[in-house]
């Protein structure tokens, strides 16, 4: 039996809770008599006492073991983000090396094979180890806070997902450090990546890195989708859900549909390479193009998997800084969903030059162009929100403007290359390089940098330095344009992608030199951003709960939030609860405090549905990740690893899923 009570959601510091511990113990004895209401939050257990008890229940064990065992989505999300940013930095350094090599024609600074490794590592890292994980990391961190829940669904899966991702990244970069880095391009076209033309283990390492990151991404997507559908605060119907949650919902589903294609493709590649199957051997009636179909069936949605969360960032930041709810919320949601669906119908536009039936191409041209409609409408909605509101141009909002200015160029060049006759010229040239960097940096990295600044106080409890932030913004923005705009011309002047050098006399000297200079400016700007992040961690201004005046629930808890996120689960009555319910936040009570417990709600209406026990911290996800990782890595070397290696996997997974001992049976929550 629970009753909702309106009361102030004033938050107390944890230090105060410490001091009151003795009182709590007395309370415990007193409450022990009232068996029914024991260890539940509610009118009788509130304030600092409640928070201290929740802290005791939700806190993870200290030390390295606790660090490895944690299932706290905020910790995992932060790890995801920091790891992904580290990979961004590494891949960025590779980009600078490549730009140094390309600064002059006929340059021999970096040899051909080394250069091939560089762009392979750059592309693979950016796509698999930075862009997707960082988006999922931000999602894992912020989604439960935005939804007003105490934990993600499947928190152990979440922890597992991070370790798989980390191991995949370490495998790739470890191999690179040992001089066995892949050199087959991030797309690894067969037969170049096949057994004959890629001797050694370089290609296998790439392919298994894919498997790692796919497992990680799919796991994280399951966590996010389940959290969004089942763990929203009561009252947060789908129609009131924050747009960022919508984007992560769409993206999560896309990940689950798209990633298996490439995991299958890479498994078949490994099988070709390890045991000599003929999936991609044209002689034996396999097909080199099968790889491209499978790869781009994943690869194209991948772009939207990266881009859609960024539109969620955009919606969040535009709303906050324009001080207006997003204009035409249903249109934006529909745009998201239709983009997600259309994304699966365009993969062939990466294959216009492969000689597939020509009339069929027209369909993909049309589908590719159609994507411009939902995206165009979204952009209109953001601009309309800004136009209608009173935007404040703090650092995150600057990135919003940079997004519009940059991404639209990339989007329009995307319309150009959607046309078959145009694509046949522009495909695989620097025009494409320019195009997708405009889309991915303009469309995803700019909003990401903005949103990291935006949520930095929520993650760390401190504000990032505004002045430094503005300097690095302008550097990254202008440097980017300098680096990538000339690439359009390099491409039109006949410079193909993935060449380690180009001859003098083709007019490519100037655009390449400009690009190289621009790249270094971007590099410096990112460095400055990182310095700002580290500096602010220690000496940044302490952040209030809601420094920007945000509209969504993550601003309702402290910065950084306690392990249990919310002392009482809030109840939502509008799309912008923080604006509409200022000072007065309705909550729901009755969740246990002696056990980790969270509230599940119904999928559409978000009516309270179940009290669900939340798993304790556990080492088993970590061990399972290691066991599976060992299988993945050793299966590069021997097919036997699949049979032998599955034993530890089975042990780890059995231990992981061993049923939790519940002290007492939880009862259904009745509203």
């Amino acid at each position: 039996m629970t009753d909702a009570v309106r009361r102030s959601n004033a938050l107390k510091s944890r230090r105060a809770a410490e001091a009151e511990r003795r009182d709590i113990e007395e309370d415990d004895k007193r409450l022990a008599a009232e068996r029914k209401k024991i260890a539940r939050d509610g009118p009788k257990l509130t304030g600092a006492k409640l928070e201290a008890r929740l802290l005791r229940t939700w806190q993870r064990p200290p030390g390295i073991i606790g660090w490895l065992a944690t299932v706290d989505h905020k910790e995992i999300g932060r790890r995801y983000i920091i790891t992904a940013l580290s990979f961004l930095a590494l891949a960025g350094v590779l980009a600078l090396l490549m730009r140094t090599q390309l600064a002059r024609p006929d340059n021999n600074m970096i040899g051909a094979s080394r250069y091939n490794e560089l762009f392979t590592m750059h592309g693979s890292t950016m796509m698999f180890l930075f862009a997707v994980p960082v988006m999922e990391g931000v999602g894992v961190f912020i989604i439960p806070l935005m939804l007003g829940t105490r934990s993600t669904a499947f928190p152990r899966l979440n922890a597992f997902s991070y370790f798989m991702y980390l191991f995949g990244g370490l495998l790739l970069w470890g191999a690179f450090a040992l001089n066995i880095g892949p050199d087959i391009g991030w797309f690894a076209y067969t037969p170049l990546s096949g057994p004959q033309f890629s001797p050694g283990k370089r290609a296998d390492i790439w392919a298994q890195m894919i498997t790692f990151t796919e497992v990680a991404a799919i796991s994280a997507a399951i966590v996010i989708v389940a959290t969004i559908l089942k763990a929203r605060a009561p009252g947060m119907t789908l129609a009131r859900m924050p747009l960022f949650a919508w984007t992560m919902l769409v993206v999560g589903i896309m990940v689950m549909l798209a990633m298996p294609a490439v995991a299958l493709a890479s498994s078949m590649l490994i099988s070709d390479r390890l045991v000599g199957t003929h999936f991609y051997n044209a002689y034996e009636h396999g097909d080199a193009l099968l790889w491209q179909h499978l790869f781009w069936f994943f690869g194209h949605p991948e772009v939207y998997i990266i881009f859609l969360p960024a539109t969620g960032f955009m919606s969040t930041m535009v709303e906050t800084f324009s001080r207006r709810p997003i204009f035409a919320y249903p249109i934006v949601v529909l745009a998201l969903i239709s983009t997600g669906i259309l994304a699966f119908g365009l993969w062939v536009h990466h294959m216009f030059a492969t000689g597939l039936p020509r009339v069929g191409y027209s369909f993909y041209t049309a589908a590719s162009m159609t994507v411009a409609i939902p995206t165009g409408l979204q952009i209109f909605c953001w601009l309309a929100t800004m136009w209608d509101g009173r935007p404040r141009f703090q650092v995150p909002m600057l990135y919003v403007v940079a997004f519009i200015v940059t991404f639209v160029i990339g989007g329009l060049s995307g319309v150009i290359i959607a046309s078959v006759p145009l694509d046949l010229q522009l495909h695989d040239t620097y025009f494409i390089v320019a195009h997708f960097h405009y889309v991915l940096i303009g469309g995803a990295v700019f909003p990401l940098l903005g949103v990291l600044t935006f949520w930095y106080p929520k993650m760390t409890g401190r504000m990032m330095d505004e002045a430094l932030g503005k300097i690095s913004f302008w550097m990254v923005f202008l440097g980017f344009q300098l680096a990538f705009f000339p690439m359009h011309f390099s491409g039109l002047l006949g410079m193909p992608r993935r060449v380690y050098t180009y001859p003098a006399g083709l007019g490519l000297e100037l655009p390449n030199l400009l690009s190289s200079i621009g790249a270094f400016v971007v590099g410096a700007a990112v460095l400055l951003f990182v310095i700002n992040g580290i500096k602010s961690l220690y000496i940044g201004a302490l952040a209030p709960d809601d420094p920007w005046g945000g509209s969504t629930l993550e601003w309702a808890t402290s910065s950084p939030p306690p392990p249990y996120n919310f002392a009482h689960v809030p109840v939502v009555e509008s799309k912008t609860p923080m604006w509409d319910q200022q000072g007065e936040m309705p909550v729901i009570t009755g969740l246990r405090v002696d056990e980790k417990e969270t509230l599940l709600t119904t999928v559409v209406a978000a009516a309270p549905d179940l009290r669900e026990p939340v798993p304790e911290p556990s080492l088993w996800p970590f061990i399972a990740a290691i066991a599976i990782g060992v299988v993945f890595i050793t299966s590069i070397f021997s097919p036997w690893s699949l049979t032998i290696g599955l034993v530890p996997c089975a042990i780890a997974l059995t231990a992981w899923f061993w049923p939790k001992e519940i002290k007492r049976n939880p009862e259904p929550v009745i509203t």
């Binding site: 044209a282 002689y283 034996e284 009636h285």
Partner: protein, 544 residues
Amino acid sequence: MRQITPNNVSKLGLAFTFSTATTHGYEAPPLVVAGTMYLITPFPNYLYALDLTKPGAPTKWTFKPKPLAASQGVACCDTVNRGAVYSKGKIIFNTLDGQTIAVDAKSGQQVWRTRLGNIQKGETITMAPLVANGKVLVGNSGGEMGVRGWIAALDEGSGKVAWKAFNTGPDKDVLIGPRFKPAYGSDRGKDLGVKTWPPNAWKIGGGNVWGWISYDPALNLIYYGTGNPGPWNPDQRPGDNKWTTGVFARDLNTGQAVWFYQSTPHDLFDHDDINENILADIPWGNSRRPVLLRPGRDGFFYVIDRRSGQVLSATPYGYVNAYRGVDLKTGRMVPNPDKDPKQGRVTRNICPAAPGLKDWNPAAFSPITGIVYIPHNNLCMDFGAMEANYIAGTPYVGADVKFYAGPGGNRGVFTAWDPLKRRAIWEIKEDLPLWSPALATAGGVIFYGTMDGWFKAVDARNGHLLWKFKAGSGIIGQPISYRGPDGRQYIAVVAGVGGWSGAVVSLKLDTRDPTAALGFANATKDLPQKTTAGGMLYVFTLPR
């Protein structure tokens, strides 16, 4: 000789045996002249003379020609020899390294020796020479080595080359002159041996003469088939590739071509056309016509008018899916486009396989029954064409192939074929490919050997097995029947497995590689368990 008949053949017993001291594929027939048996072995091409007049047939003399050892490295399909001939007191034979040697039949002393082939280019000679009217006719092997095929006529007395005709290249090399009147339009024109090839490809284009030559004294014409064009990969040699895979009729004296018929223009499957030409006069329409009976490697039984080269009929005598048939108007073979091997993609299930429905091993024609007895294969293949690189003295093939049993699962068939009714009278299914020639005796018994070493006698009328003998090695050699000095009928055969089909045994190949021995290893994987290499002569006769 009619002493051996279906009724008594079961009593056949061993008369004597003789070990040839070689273990390579023994494809040659023993040669019996005037109470002496001559045996020509595979490399190193020893020539033995056995005295049949003495009990146990002791050796009279042995001639060792000492061919170059390196020639073994350019002989595509085991280091075989297909026989020696006797003429005017001389035994004439070829050596693997490209020489023709005449040896005095009585003394075993060399009379002359002529070098015709150059192993540095990949040329070998494995065929049996033919002596006709004072000319020794010899052709070269090496269709898998990018060798340009030729036939040469040597003066029987001196060994000097009388004429030499190439099978590719300009007309003057091919000895095409005013007498050349082919039956079909596609063979008429100047320098077709050049124009039907990409530039210079004819110089390394094959068309070798490693099979059988026939001579028609009435017309003074010789008939012989030309081998496959090189390389096997057809994409590398667009065009009809004249004058490969066809039959030439040439004037014996001058070598001038008289007619030519190309059974498979632009050969796709190594379907050499070197098989025997059986000269027969058969009723056709309302007259008797002099014809060639040719059980072709491409699977068709051809009846060709030997005066004009006109094809009278062409009927498949086994399972064929690589071709649709022969258009009798144009004489042109119609290939099945589904089986056209394209570079870069394996073409599967091509029947017959590269060794053809029948390879070199000659069929036997019985003028008594009018039936042709054909020992042949039932093999299909997968063919993976790839670019061949020409390096003189090394293989020039450009294909990965593997053979396997055709429909029915048996790899060999012995067919009695009626050339007039154009159908099989009876058939014997043999598990292994049939690589031994057939012998038809006047007594109505057919002899042939199998690769697992059974020497069999069957009834010419119905194919019923009458007698069989297990030899020490698989039999691919030609059985003969001769009248011994004692007047009795003898049957002789040499058992020595090898050749293309038996190379897995004679060359000790590893059958884990299905492409080994140009793909034959896959079809004869079990052969090493069924037989071992050998080289033993067996002579049979009826008990006294």
